[in-house]
Amino acid sequence: MQTDDLIDALSADVAVVRRGEPQRRLASTAIAGGLIAFILVAAWLGLRSDLAEAIGGAVFWIKAGYTLALAAAFFHAGERLSRPGVAAGRAWTLAVAIVAVFAGLGLMQWGAMPAARKLAAIQGVSWRVCTRNILVLGAPMTLICVMSMRGLAPTRPMAAGFAAGAFSGAVAASIYGLHCPEAPFIFTAIWYTLGVGACGALGAVLGRWLLRW
């Protein structure tokens, strides 16, 4: 085919393009992925028994605030990385800053605990499964998110995949808060963050293979 024929063909039917297509796509994967994670929590893990009581307290919302803030930062990174020629440096910095602030909060709280409680605060009752659970909850959304990014134009597949995975992991971690009864912030700072990172790694691997266009 001649290049000029191609241009003619492409110019024959020019639809109006709405603004913010990458944002819309990522937001709809969050709705789908969040729903899947919620169904998994409800059917497989079960909601925490004291949920009604916990929702009235600050700890629940600080944990949710942390994971939702991370989701926002990785959403931003994913949106940037879906556009050719746009840097995502500020979004990464923001994500690192959020982790640093929350880890700092967790350490302060942990430092003030009596020595006998320190190990228990880190391990809680679920430290062995927490990261794995978040990875399982976030994996479906990670796949959906990477597939959805294929229709955009990520020029750095692994970085874009990581952003998609970490975004999914952070959404899943927020939903996981409905199950997980652990209160110490140090617990969330370690195991939740690892879960988000594990989803990011999964996304990076998927991106490496799937984000070709």
Binding site: S11, R18, R83, P84, T155, R212
Partner: protein
Amino acid sequence: MLRGLDGDAQAHRQCLTLLRDRLRAYFGRRLTENPEDAEDLVQEALLAVHARRATYDRNLPVTAWAYAIARYKLIDYWRRRKVRFALPLDDVADFLASRTPALDDGLDLTRALQTLHPRQRALVEDVKIGGLSLAEAGARRGYSEGAAKVALHRALKLLSTRMSDADG
């Protein structure tokens, strides 16, 4: 580009045609031994520009966006051909310097001009767009010829850094 996004087919065709010339210059220079492959890449890149135009951020220069697509397609081509070597980042200069009318330079330039001091901007416009001589333009804006020359030089230098920042 912007009018094409709003559904103006004529503007879209114009934009693709301008990009075609830039893409030919870009791929042609890098695949001198393979002119057919270069033309295939031009078509692939044009297709991507068309199909993925929703990923263009209207606040940024079109050139930077199209360049990143061209670069991605080139790297992808090498990956398929199993050629591995580093593509220097500074090859953006070739893309920007290819001698075709720029499709968004009007837009980028207008923005860059707005960042100048009003008197500087008036001088640049009189000389470079209005076509006045340095002496005439200087007289209108209250510079001596020598001072006008220096001021113009500074303004142009500033403009070129602003514009390359915008493309970075």
